[in-house]
Subunit: 464 residues, 2 copies
């Protein structure tokens, strides 16, 4: 079914997906060592030991957690700027030590950039600096082994997510960052306007607030792409988005960020909460298993005691909200009108000895777009997934697809477009969202969420 | 080199990358038709012809450009809401018509959601609506064949970019949207602050401007992730980012958006402009060839006259800025002090009969971070790639890696962190950036950039 006019001949280009490189990355050298061959690597010196006849240097280039051991004969012409932290270009022959360790016997060592610790370099060799200390140096932070490993895992998780959804025929939709929808974030939003006063003056129209000059309406940073996803889902089927999301909360906890990444998916023709649950369970297990195997050395570097979570081999359980409340009541824990709190979430997970979906939520605890339960009109078909250590890690629901019911609950006229999605060729849909950084915390055992992304933003902190 | 404690057994989960689905997507039905088998599809009616004994319905579900022809015997029990635009669930047997066309002989037809055009549905069957008209209905726009095709191409291009860079060992770095760097956007930036006055009051500190209350510094939406990429590149090697970028310009042209996606890559140890050029040429050709083949039917739907660009089979050329100026002068076109304009760009491409890199730019025309040319200290090692139809499609440079030279050109103290990257373990790097929407315009022949993304934002327009 190829349209000849559009296609171009593949033979000459389809195989050019790999860009030729003159030197080798250390991940490849370790993966498929070519003993005895002349090898060229570039990277940074992570540690240095000077012995009688040789200098031993551990070099890493960011491509993997492991370092390549370089053996440098002292009679080689070596710059005295070869120190911890310096960048180097090394040529030599690969060999195996009597103990079976891979080594590069250097024939040429060039220092590309020196690193004088006394000149203000904040990190020291063979020292584990506390994360709070490292966080003060965001621009140099990826030079620490810990942060580099986290960023490799973040890359891998992102790639696995795109691969998984693509393979399952979900379209990646870039939902907008700027939005005039004002109702979903309960006030904790950032607003946006041009910095340049000239632009403001040129665009000003009579009677218009400064907030509305540029776009003609007050404009915010997105708190969720779900409503936009639903619009595309009703024209094209399964869709997802993975991108930045914002909260203007005054929270400095180890679980909150002002800018974070959210994965949201919307499943077309999804007409039961069970289908949604089984998708989420499948996806989460896949993501954890695949990443634990592609990035085992990184996870080990981040935390030597990181064990596969017990829930990977368990069927997730399901409780209704009322059942959950009864279980907690029997343990002397009363659920307030505001819903199940963090402590109670963890009690439930402990009681179940497995991750557990809480379903059938009271309408007043959940958002306007969630579908009224066919079993009980005071409830909605929503779910929270609770897991060990973190409590809630995923939230989702079926979406209200009854025009009249949704109309009654619509919080703002600005959302008439969302209501209208139900008027023409409507379909049942359901979806879920999860925070990428929270998933990384669980996967990597990273205590503070600020250490799961390269440039964290939180109150009073937006360096660089 | 697997760390046993970290790994989990793959056998049970590695193969579960595919989520089971009860119905078939039309792309799969057409790709591997199972003639004679009972098949279930769900989608939207794109056209309907009623004949003597049968109703012929073309159904599409967003998974591909093609429609599946459904043949519905009139004696079947059919709802009269089966119309153009309605959503349907159909079960039937696959067969081939005498002409070889694939058909589904319906045994059961259920209308999931009606679509009454007279109730205000803006699109009509067998009508090609102008893009300006369709753009008024952003929430329903993906239901048009044209927009659906563009969004599938956008998905594919995004996936190909991630695959290409991942395969070549580039790390995907999520550079921040919020930034306190204030110097790069030449004033055309958006600034950000919390909407909630309670939050503002609670966080206010004496002597602080409202702009700086939340983050402790004036905060903007990013205009480029390059400087952040450079920080990671100097710790981990090759990196890239693909994400939203912002300009607060008062421009309503067919080539400008207030929010758009930018691909930026930074190549470690890149010490010559030729290496950078050859990477860009390789990448662009790969992206165009692969997408033209994975999405041939979409490209054909968008524009039946879309032909493979002649430059796919040509070596790109290189001119210095001075050579380019001389060529233009010989044609009576004077280059002003502000550089080569769009008309002149296209003249050069026409003269070269191929895409052309312009290199060796005068220092004053380019950004502070570009590397001074070793051949001429009034020039920088920058490049623009000019292509037919669009003129410039890629901009890039080597980065100034000389601490003293960079210090002299640093535009703001807020960028001291950027200077410091050169102080410790520095390496030569080079990189480039390109706008995803511009690439989609060229690839798909889409005249207006607002039709290359799902929810365009431009002055006075931020609907939904």
């Amino acid at each position: 079914m190829l349209f000849k006019k559009v296609c171009v001949n593949l033979s000459s280009y389809f195989k050019i997906g790999l860009v030729p490189k003159k030197y080798s990355i250390i991940a490849s050298v370790l993966d498929k060592p070519k003993i005895g061959e002349l090898t060229e690597v570039k990277g940074w010196v992570k540690s240095l030991r000077i012995q009688k006849e040789f200098i031993f240097a551990d070099v890493n280039d960011g491509s993997c957690a492991q370092k390549l051991q370089i053996i440098i004969p002292k009679n080689l012409d070596i710059d005295d700027t070869l120190t911890y932290g310096s960048s180097v270009h090394i040529t030599g022959k690969l060999s195996k030590s009597p103990r079976g360790q891979l080594e590069l016997l250097a024939e040429n060592v060039t220092v590309l950039g020196k690193c004088v610790v006394l000149d203000g370099y904040p990190f020291n060799p063979r020292t584990i600096h506390p994360p709070e200390y490292i966080r003060q140096y965001l621009h140099l932070r990826s030079r620490t082994n810990y942060m580099a490993a986290v960023l490799r895992v973040r890359h891998a998780v992102t790639k696995h997510i795109h691969d998984y959804f693509s393979k399952n025929n979900f379209l990646n939709i870039h939902t907008p960052i700027l939005t005039s929808n004002d109702c979903e974030g309960a006030g904790e939003v950032f607003k946006v306007q041009p910095e340049n006063e000239e632009t403001m003056k040129a665009m000003m129209q009579e009677g218009r607030n400064r907030d509305s000059v540029y776009f003609g309406a007050k404009t915010f940073l997105t708190v969720s792409g779900q409503l936009h996803l639903e619009a595309i889902c009703r024209g094209m089927g399964d869709v997802y988005t993975l991108g930045p999301t914002f909260r203007a909360e005054n929270s400095r906890s180890r679980l909150h960020l002002s800018e974070f990444y959210m994965l949201e998916a919307e499943i077309a023709f999804c007409d039961s909460i069970e289908k949604l649950q089984s998708f989420i369970e499948h996806f989460l297990k896949y993501l954890f298993v695949v990443t634990r195997n592609t990035n085992d050395a990184d996870l080990y570097l981040i935390d030597k005691n990181n064990k596969a979570p017990s829930w990977l081999n368990k069927q997730f359980l399901t409780l209704t909200y009322d059942e959950a409340r009864n279980i907690l009541a029997a343990k002397g824990l009363d659920v307030s009108d505001e819903g199940i709190n963090k402590e109670q979430e963890l009690t439930l997970v402990d009681y179940c000895q497995a991750p557990v979906f809480i379903v059938q939520w009271p309408k007043n605890l959940k958002s306007f777009y969630m579908k009224e339960s066919p079993l009980d009109s005071t409830k909605v078909d929503a779910l929270d997934l609770l897991a060990p250590l973190t409590g809630e890690i995923v939230g989702g629901s079926l979406r209200e697809d009854d025009y009249t019911k949704l109309e009654k609950k619509l919080p703002s006229d600005a959302l008439k477009w969302y209501l209208e999605l139900r008027k023409f060729g409507n379909i049942p849909t359901g979806g879920f969202g999860l925070g990428l950084e929270r998933i990384l915390q669980v996967l990597c055992n990273v205590p503070n969420i600020k250490d799961t992304l390269p440039f964290p933003r939180w109150p009073h902190n937006c360096d660089m």
